[in-house]
């Protein structure tokens, strides 16, 4: 088993006595896309920030390609930053309106002291073209572009250093429907070309379906389900995952249906129960509390393991 590109072990972030992220384990293998899915308050964005060390964790570990970067100071982190990059949701706020696109895309090279000025200019132009924009765009300013085009610039800037892992936090949420597909395809193509690993954070399960290898579902700071994409869509086990899938509108007017809704509290109260015989592996901790258990096919669910000596 090769070292994963990114690994979070029991990562926790508390604000006061509230745990925004509660003992989360997350692995992003090399050359794969892991989707982190959840609604507001789930902790998915915080998890992304913790992974990038843009936020300090309360406890737990962050490992970048096997190396523990949890407690490195910001100065010591600088060389590691080349390997992990981010694209955010708001393309307008992500780009300095006073800089040209060429300057924006080339800035990371300057920060890390790579190449001469001429070389940097060449590289930024090359990358603008790689993300589907004409090289002449290097002299334009962010406000001259559409949302989708700006997002392409963010991607170029993120990848110009040759990162091994990209964290994308809702990169398509603010985009028009017809443009979402463009950005998803762009990311997919670059990922395949560069062997990039991606942590794709989104609330949109539909977008995730065509892009991710594995889906991790978060609720109130905890991982409640984790499985390969197709298994999540075909055989979700946790009531929250099922609720998320159920809420997606059907693209068939004839298949319109009424839904019943459970509140988050009601969902939390319906933790699935499994008998040890149904599990793929015996859980390490013998407890009545909900924990992540392994089902067949790399499928993990937060569940309660029923009593072993049960009548």
């Amino acid at each position: 088993m090769t070292t994963p590109a990114l690994e979070l072990r029991q990562i926790t972030k508390r604000f006061g006595d509230m745990a925004a992220v509660d003992r989360v384990d997350l692995v992003v293998p090399r050359n794969s896309v892991v989707a982190l899915v959840g609604e507001s308050g789930s902790g998915k964005t915080t998890t992304g920030l913790l992974a990038l060390r843009l936020l300090g964790s309360t406890s737990g570990q962050v490992l970048l390609e096997g190396e523990d970067i949890t407690h490195l100071s910001q100065t010591k982190l600088k060389p590691y930053r080349r390997r992990m990059q981010v694209v955010f949701q708001d393309s307008y706020a992500s780009l300095d309106p006073m800089m040209t696109l060429g300057e924006i895309v080339g800035e990371p090279l300057g920060i890390h002291g790579i190449g001469s000025r001429a070389e940097r200019r060449e590289q930024s132009q090359a990358w603008l073209e790689k993300v589907g924009l004409d090289g002449s765009y290097a002299n334009r300013y962010p406000h001259e572009l559409s949302g989708g085009q700006r997002q392409r610039v963010s991607v170029a800037r993120a990848l110009i250093l040759g990162a091994s892992i990209l964290v994308a936090d809702e990169p398509t949420s603010a985009l028009d429907v017809s443009v979402k597909a463009q950005i998803v395809n762009l990311l997919q193509g670059l990922q395949a070309d560069m062997g990039l690993s991606m942590l794709f954070i989104s609330h949109d399960l539909s977008v995730v379906r065509s892009l991710a290898d594995e889906v991790v579902v978060m609720l109130r700071g905890r991982v409640v389900e984790r499985a390969p994409t197709d298994r999540i869509f075909a055989n979700a086990q946790h009531p929250y995952t099922k609720a998320l899938l159920d809420a997606v509108p059907t693209i068939n007017p004839r298949a319109r249906r009424r839904r019943t809704f459970l509140s988050r509290d009601e969902i939390a109260a319906r933790t699935p129960r499994f008998h040890p015989s149904e599990l793929d592996a015996v859980p390490l901790i013998d407890t009545a509390e909900p924990q992540l258990v392994a089902l067949a096919g790399d499928h993990f669910v937060e569940a309660i393991v029923a009593e072993r000596s049960v009548p």
Binding site: S40, V177, V179, S210
Partner: protein
């Protein structure tokens, strides 16, 4: 008589950079009890159309012209301010996109619902507040009696949107106009709010105009669809037919690019290019720069919106009319 009748609506804004043509000849109607979806992306003019209907745009810089702009029998172009104020909230009520910024932060929920009622009905403040509590219950807000005294910042987005719906219903309008009501909400809340709107619409028999860019919302909620692009109508028709047999290349492309329809990692179908800039709309058909079926003629001629099938209109010269003879 139609509840809403719009014929050849044009809305433009004179900005510093020049004239921005947001709506360039939009026509549609809504019958009582009908639900209509207006689908469009940014720059399509979908929100501006309905804002113009209620004369909510600041004029100038906005300039509104139309052959017909009727709402509940009122001529909204000719109406004077007093009539316009009377129509707003009472004949047609709107629910907007972001509930977190739609309410005045310094007044209570109850006050803001009650003032809508007292603006249109001769009732006392107390009666109006009681009605507000009843309305909050109707939109499934638990402990409504307490919530009337809350301030907006004390509620979540989903709760606030329910409040907005309650407020819109307060004067029993004939038509509810919802402008992207669920875009800013979580997906599970979104489903709940849509179902609530739909239930209320059926229960009260009011008309519904649902403005959205999300085809899923359209599929779930409305009976008829109007597709807008670049300030013009591309296609109209019953919702099942729009989804099963779209006529216009834009509608087809939009439907094809919806992600998540099939299992497995895959490349999505894209629509190349970007939406037209309302300040510089393309000549001829607004979609032609991105259209897989475009020909030279599409640049020269603006396709008229005409009936291509029974009850279905489309604005595309590449679509042949084929109708069943009467």
């Amino acid at each position: 008589m139609a509840l809403v009748e719009i014929d050849d609506l044009h809305v433009s804004f004179s900005q510093y950079e020049g004239l921005v043509q947001a709506v360039r000849g939009v026509s549609f109607s809504l019958e009582p009890g009908e639900s209509l979806g207006i689908v469009g992306e940014s720059g399509s003019g979908k929100s501006v159309t309905c804002s113009a209907l209620l004369r909510l745009l600041r004029e100038p810089p906005a300039k509104i012209t139309a052959n017909t702009l009727h709402l509940g029998g009122h001529d909204m172009l000719a109406a004077r301010p007093r009539e316009i104020s009377a129509v707003r909230g009472r004949v047609a009520a709107m629910v907007f996109q972001d509930p977190m910024t739609s309410l005045d932060p310094v007044f209570t929920i109850g006050h803001q619902i009650a003032e809508t009622i007292t603006a249109h009905r001769p009732v006392s403040k107390d009666e109006a507040l009681q009605r507000a509590v009843a309305l909050l219950k109707r939109v499934e807000i638990k402990n409504a009696e307490a919530v009337v005294r809350y301030y907006p910042h004390q509620l979540s987005g989903g709760m606030l949107q329910r409040v907005m719906i309650a407020m819109a219903l307060s004067c029993e309008p004939q038509v509810l106009i919802a402008d992207e009501p669920t875009t800013a909400l979580d997906v599970t809340i979104q489903a709940q709010i849509l179902q609530l709107i739909k239930d209320i619409q059926i229960e009260t028999g009011m008309g519904l105009i649902m403005i959205t860019h999300d085809l899923g919302v359209i599929a779930e909620t409305v009976d008829r669809v109007v597709v807008l692009y670049g300030g013009k109508v591309m296609e109209t028709g019953p919702v099942e037919q729009i989804f099963e047999a779209p006529l216009h290349p834009y509608t087809r492309a939009l439907l094809n690019s919806i992600p998540g329809q099939t299992a497995g990692k895959q490349r999505l179908v894209e629509i190349p290019g970007a939406s037209p800039n309302p300040a510089h709309p393309p000549a001829g058909c607004p979609f032609h720069p991105r259209c897989p079926m475009a020909i030279a003629e599409c640049h020269r001629v603006t396709p008229p919106l005409e009936e291509k099938r029974d009850g279905r209109l489309a604005a595309c010269i590449r679509v042949e009319p084929a109708m069943v003879a009467a």
